[in-house]
């Protein structure tokens, strides 16, 4: 377990020293959130649903940006082989990557939510919104880490990862957007069933990704 945190720390260090893609992810999310204003009318009427949807589109695409690069960069630099030479098993590598990916996505979310609130006056700063955001990020990063490894070694990595990830993450999209909409509209008490769906999804697919990562990494 200690090794996992070592890997996470390494990823964080690399990121904050080189400022690789976290910055790009944040900027991308912010730009998307601003663009929402021109894509939808969020000033009146039923604005909670398109607002929630737009917010999550920003998260998903920004997340995709980070996930896609995550293992591709490693493979390009040859650091992936270095990792595999270490006496750690694939599962540990997965956990390290997964946790750092979750962190990056959550950082993007943490920056985006206040901005979103400021621009649209929708209650995106309610704690439950952040809870749903994190739960969504966990599931997305779980599958995303696995598929970024699959796509990283292929010629079509940019198109392959979204193609694999989006269809499979549909329950995540449905759950997070519906829950967020409900929280925007009311007190969100009826969002709990969606939370349960998301939590179940996370457990199942993070576990599966952990188990299957071995299959992907062997060379």
């Amino acid at each position: 377990m200690r090794r996992v945190w070592a890997l996470v720390w390494k990823d964080l260090l690399v990121e904050f020293r080189g400022r690789e893609f976290l910055g790009a992810m944040v900027v991308f999310a912010l730009i998307t959130i601003v663009t929402l204003n021109f894509a939808f009318d969020l000033s009146r009427g039923d604005r909670e649903a398109p607002g929630a949807g737009g917010l999550w589109i920003a998260f998903l695409f920004a997340g995709m940006l980070g996930l896609g690069r995550s293992l591709a960069v490693e493979r390009d630099r040859g650091t992936l082989e270095g990792l595999m030479l270490c006496p750690v098993d694939a599962g540990t590598i997965f956990l390290g990557k997964f946790i750092s990916n979750v962190m990056f996505i959550v950082i993007v979310q943490a920056v985006s939510l206040p901005v979103f609130y400021g621009l649209y006056n929708l209650p995106s700063l309610r704690p439950m919104v952040l809870l749903i955001a994190v739960i969504g990020a966990i599931g997305f990063a779980g599958l995303g880490t696995l598929f970024s490894a699959v796509a990283a070694s292929s010629r079509a990595r940019e198109i392959l990862m979204p193609l694999l990830l989006f269809p499979l993450a549909i329950p995540l999209v449905i759950g997070t957007v519906q829950a967020t909409t409900l929280i925007f509209q009311g007190d969100g008490a009826d969002a709990w069933p969606w939370f349960n769906l998301l939590a179940a999804f996370d457990v199942i697919f993070v576990t599966l990704s952990y188990v299957l990562f071995d299959l992907v990494l062997e060379e």
Binding site: L163, I174, Q178
Partner: protein
């Protein structure tokens, strides 16, 4: 066609399956057009039900077999399991496409639209993309062995996700309900319709089995040929053992085995 077993047994199996499939399907189509009663509400368009439902059944059956093959490959690294998975994936993709097309054609006169985001159609659309992903992963993986591994990963995750996707789309739909669902008299299906449906289901399942056996043989042959080419590439002069293998595989006696 290259086969290790005596040509008779598996040829008979294939032919038998094919003939049986044709017979049952012919009966099924006849029943669908003539025997089955006309639906009160939807008229004759409802008869599309008798191909649409079997196609859907096959699409998900095929995905299930892909799952089995993928798990089998993950467990044993068995080439046969991989062949099972990729053969069924090809068929699954064909049937999934047909579900979407027949569903759309059926829906048009009933909904006045080519598409509805109803739970089953939506899940099938996503399944369609999963199949595409399955083939892209294989195609872009670089080499066959890696392709098989990655595809197995997708096969496992995809298959497990499909029921979850279906459930979440269903729940989502309760919030965004839409008019009529593609169905016929719901749970109270008249017996004649039920029988017709069952016959069609049986016929199409036999067709699937027939195509699977064919496909498996083709894939086996391709695997062997690929391996053989690899061997020839790696050891052009060949040693005695290799040439013997090669000779067996091509049903020839290699007179020049002494080298």
């Amino acid at each position: 066609m290259m086969q290790r077993k005596p040509a008779n047994r598996s040829d008979m199996l294939v032919t038998g399956l094919g003939v049986l499939a044709v017979v049952v399907l012919t009966l099924g189509i006849f029943m669908a057009f003539v025997y089955a009663p006309t639906d009160r509400d939807q008229g004759d368009a409802q008869r599309i039900f008798y191909v649409h439902v079997p196609m859907a059944w096959l699409a998900y059956l095929a995905m299930g077999v892909v799952f089995i093959g993928s798990v089998g490959y993950m467990w044993k690294r068995s080439a046969r399991m991989d062949r099972l998975a990729r053969s069924s994936a090809e068929l699954g993709f064909l049937f999934t496409t047909l579900v979407l097309i027949t569903g759309s054609i059926w829906g048009r006169p009933i909904w006045n639209a080519w598409w509805q985001w109803e739970a089953r159609l939506t899940t099938t659309l996503i399944l369609w993309f999963i199949f595409i992903g399955y083939f892209m992963v294989r195609a872009y993986a670089g080499d066959a062995e890696r392709g098989a591994r990655y595809a197995a990963v997708l096969g496992i995750i995809g298959a497990i996700d499909v029921p979850i996707i279906h459930q979440s789309v269903k729940w989502w739909r309760t919030l965004h309900p839409e008019p009529i669902v593609l169905d016929t008299a719901g749970p109270n299906l008249p017996d004649s319709m039920l029988v017709t449906l069952l016959v069609c289901l049986a016929g199409f399942t036999l067709l699937y089995a027939f195509l699977m056996v064919l496909k498996m043989q083709i894939e086996w042959a391709r695997d062997v040929l690929a391996e053989r080419e690899l061997t020839a590439l790696l050891a052009p002069e060949g040693n005695q053992a290799e040439r013997r293998t090669v000779a067996t595989v091509s049903h020839k006696v290699s007179g020049a085995a002494e080298d």
